[in-house]
């Protein structure tokens, strides 16, 4: 199977803090890949580097065959991204923001696509409200919509479920699973282990910027091991090492 994402010996250092420390991993096309790790383990930094938002300090990464350091813009043209914290621009309405995204990405039928997303994520009643006045959950829905509105072959999404209620979490999990089944790839960063075990086909564990493990979720379940237990034992062991 083709690899949509290849990371070789990747590092990112901020001053005297090493956020990502010589990580090597790859993700196959059509995978629903979970990047797991405790808070501050380097997951968000990984996504920022992989989408060309920030530059790596060392090593290399290719996404869809493109070098993220030198072709970051082309990477962002082709992928969808949900950042962990960033909100949509304050003074556009939800609908205007999707129109804005459509204009930047040159999507011709943006209004129709936007309406479909308002229906799917059930926030059509908020489409003419300014983004700054939306609740956190509704903003997250909007960011989810903008990431998938152009139906990218790869989406890199950072903690996509964290602000959703259980009903919406269910809708989104189903959407992500179907999306990966259709042959496209999801790179999901989360620390909600139960979600990762439920929907991911493969995963990697980061701790203190270092890669502790990567492999298919099926390998664990075949041995009767649950992902949360495996994660906790590995991270605790590494913490005491």
């Amino acid at each position: 199977m083709a690899q949509v994402l290849e990371v070789r010996d990747l590092s990112k250092v901020y001053g005297d803090v090493t956020a990502v420390d010589h990580v090597t991993l790859s993700v196959d096309e059509g995978a629903l890949f979970g990047l797991l790790g405790p808070n501050g383990s380097g997951k968000t930094t990984m996504i920022k580097v992989l989408t060309g938002q920030i530059r790596p300090t060392g090593g290399s990464a290719r996404v869809l065959g493109l070098d993220v350091e030198h072709e970051g813009l082309r990477v962002r043209e082709r992928v969808g991204i949900i950042p962990e914290q960033e909100s949509p621009p304050s003074f556009l309405t939800a609908m205007e923001y999707l129109e804005f995204v459509g204009a930047v990405r040159k999507i011709p039928d943006i209004k129709e696509r936007a309406e479909r997303w308002f229906d799917l994520l059930e926030f059509g009643d908020k489409k003419h409200v300014l983004c700054k006045d939306l609740s956190r959950g509704t903003r997250q829905k909007l960011m989810f919509a903008q990431a998938f509105i152009h139906e990218p072959v790869l989406a890199l999404i950072d903690e996509p479920l964290i602000n959703f209620d259980p009903i919406m979490q269910d809708v989104v999990k189903e959407y992500l699973t179907d999306y990966a089944r259709s042959g496209r790839t999801i790179f999901l960063s989360t620390h909600i282990l139960e979600v990762a075990e439920e929907i991911c086909s493969s995963f990697a564990i980061l701790h203190r910027g270092r890669l502790l493990h990567s492999g298919p979720v099926g390998d664990l379940t075949a041995h009767g091991v649950h992902l949360p237990e495996f994660f906790l034992s590995l991270v605790r062991k590494d913490s005491h090492a």
Binding site: K48, R76, P83, E86, P89, T93, M95, E96, A103
Partner: protein
């Protein structure tokens, strides 16, 4: 009060020192001190052309405007923080989760701004003048008086902006009426007495003839403005569910031939809906310029014919260049980071929006030329103003990228900006004073302006965007 106040002071210091480094930022007041100390030795030279009292008038005007600008910046501090550092909040905002009234927090905020910027700007300026006084022959008492009256001028600007902005939040109409009434009052005073109303600015009156009674009146006026702004202060309450008609799509259709139409259309929606467009036009453009016009008009007899209009056009150009900060005000790179948009694309689109906004200073200077009875010089004055503005904005974009409002406090950035703009202003004052129509030659500034923008795009693309 002391606890919150001290922490706000520390926070302000850390914001600046985190951005520029402790030493670099600590050098900022030292630089002000040094410039004023050395500048004081030029006083005898300047006084041969302009009387000392008029120089004092200009200095007081500068500090009045500084107070206005610091106040406006402080009120938008949270947005600045978020722009620079990503998800961050100032104590003035996060302290709302504590059992403290919002008025109490605002009171601390206002006092903090007054004290902090007094030490950052006013004291180094006054201290530089005082330190030079033994060498320049200026009596020490007069130097000390200048420090006092500059502090009052600065606080007058600060209190005015806090009062007007507090009123603006309560009622835009009331604020507009007050500004118009003040303007009309000043004009009426000018016409009835035949005297420039700037002469009645209390800190100036105090500097020209000190009396304890006048000092008391000045302090009482400031205290009243300060208390009024605290009393009518009303915090923003987010969470409205008001619906808005779609502005973006119609605007987008209007800009098909511009570079990056969606980004430019978004800027205009931001300017309109945030109130920044109107607020900045009023507080950072019209009011400071009207104040400057009053003060500059005192120099009329010391300038060559038509010199006042062209000097004013240049100053308007420099102030109009800050429109680049208006369009970068609410726009961190963060929301764009998930889109195929580079920092250079954003800089280019901001310059495009800035260019469209230049119609405001162009009309303003056109009107100034007509009002001052020099309609024949509309074209050269407008060309000079807009060319200076483009040039200064280009320099600003190179030095500060998308963060001009915060990086201006970096001593290296400010110094470079002042030198690069100062040299150009000096050259074109001489050129336009020699012959008003020579001011048309300032159009050549568009070349270094554009080259600066190109260099800015290259420079800021090469670094990780702030706030990410």
């Amino acid at each position: 009060m002391p606890e919150l106040f001290m922490r706000m002071m520390k926070e302000e210091w850390r914001i600046h020192s985190t951005m520029f480094g402790q030493i670099s930022f600590a050098l900022f007041p030292v630089m002000i001190f040094g410039i004023v100390f050395m500048g004081s030795f030029l006083l005898p030279l300047l006084q041969s052309a302009i009387p000392a009292s008029n120089l004092a008038l200009i200095t007081h005007a500068m500090f009045l405007v500084l107070g206005v600008m610091v106040g406006g910046f402080g009120l938008m501090g949270n947005e600045m923080m978020n722009r620079r550092f990503g998800q961050a909040s100032l104590l003035a905002y996060s302290a709302r989760s504590l059992p403290l009234s919002e008025r109490f927090i605002f009171l601390n905020f206002v006092v903090k701004d007054t004290v902090y910027y007094f030490f950052l700007w006013v004291l180094p300026f006054g201290a530089g003048y005082i330190a030079a006084s033994p060498f320049t022959g200026v009596p020490l008492a007069q130097s000390l008086l200048l420090l006092l009256t500059l502090a009052l001028a600065f606080m007058a600007g600060l209190c005015t902006i806090f009062l007007l902005s507090a009123l603006y939040v309560r009622s835009r109409h009331a604020c507009g009426i007050l500004v118009l009434a003040l303007g009309a009052g000043l004009l009426a005073l000018a016409f009835t007495t035949g005297t420039n109303p700037a002469f009645y600015f209390p800190p100036l009156l105090l500097y020209c003839g000190f009396s304890w009674g006048l000092l008391l009146v000045s302090c009482v006026v400031l205290a009243i403005m300060f208390l009024l702004s605290i009393l009518i202060f009303s915090p923003d309450h987010a969470g409205t569910t008001r619906r808005y008609a779609d502005l973006f799509a119609p605007l987008l259709k209007n800009f098909p031939s511009l570079p990056h139409p969606p980004l430019v259309a978004k800027d205009f929606v931001d300017l309109y809906r945030s109130g920044i467009g109107v607020g900045q036009a009023l507080f950072s453009f019209l009011i400071p310029l009207v104040v400057i016009w009053f003060f500059l008009s005192l120099l009329g007899s010391y300038l060559p014919p038509h010199g006042l209009l062209f000097l004013f056009a240049m100053i308007t150009g420099v102030i109009a260049s800050t429109m680049y900060t208006w369009v970068t005000e609410f726009d961190a790179f963060g929301p764009y980071a998930c889109l195929p948009v580079a920092v250079s694309t954003l800089i280019r689109s901001k310059i495009t929006t800035f260019s469209l906004l230049q119609v405001v200073p162009a009309i303003f200077i056109g009107l100034a030329a007509i009002i001052s009875g020099e309609p024949a010089y509309i074209l050269p004055a407008v060309v000079l103003c807009v060319s200076i503005s483009f040039y200064a904005a280009g320099v600003m974009s190179y030095l500060c990228g998308l963060s001009p409002s915060v990086l201006v406090y970096d001593v290296k950035v400010l110094f470079t900006y002042l030198v690069l703009d100062g040299v150009v202003c000096a050259i074109f004052s001489a050129v336009s004073f020699a012959n008003p129509f020579y001011a048309l030659s300032s159009v050549v500034l568009l070349i270094p302006g554009w080259l600066s923008v190109k260099a800015a795009m290259k420079r800021w693309d090469a670094v990780d965007p702030a706030g990410l």
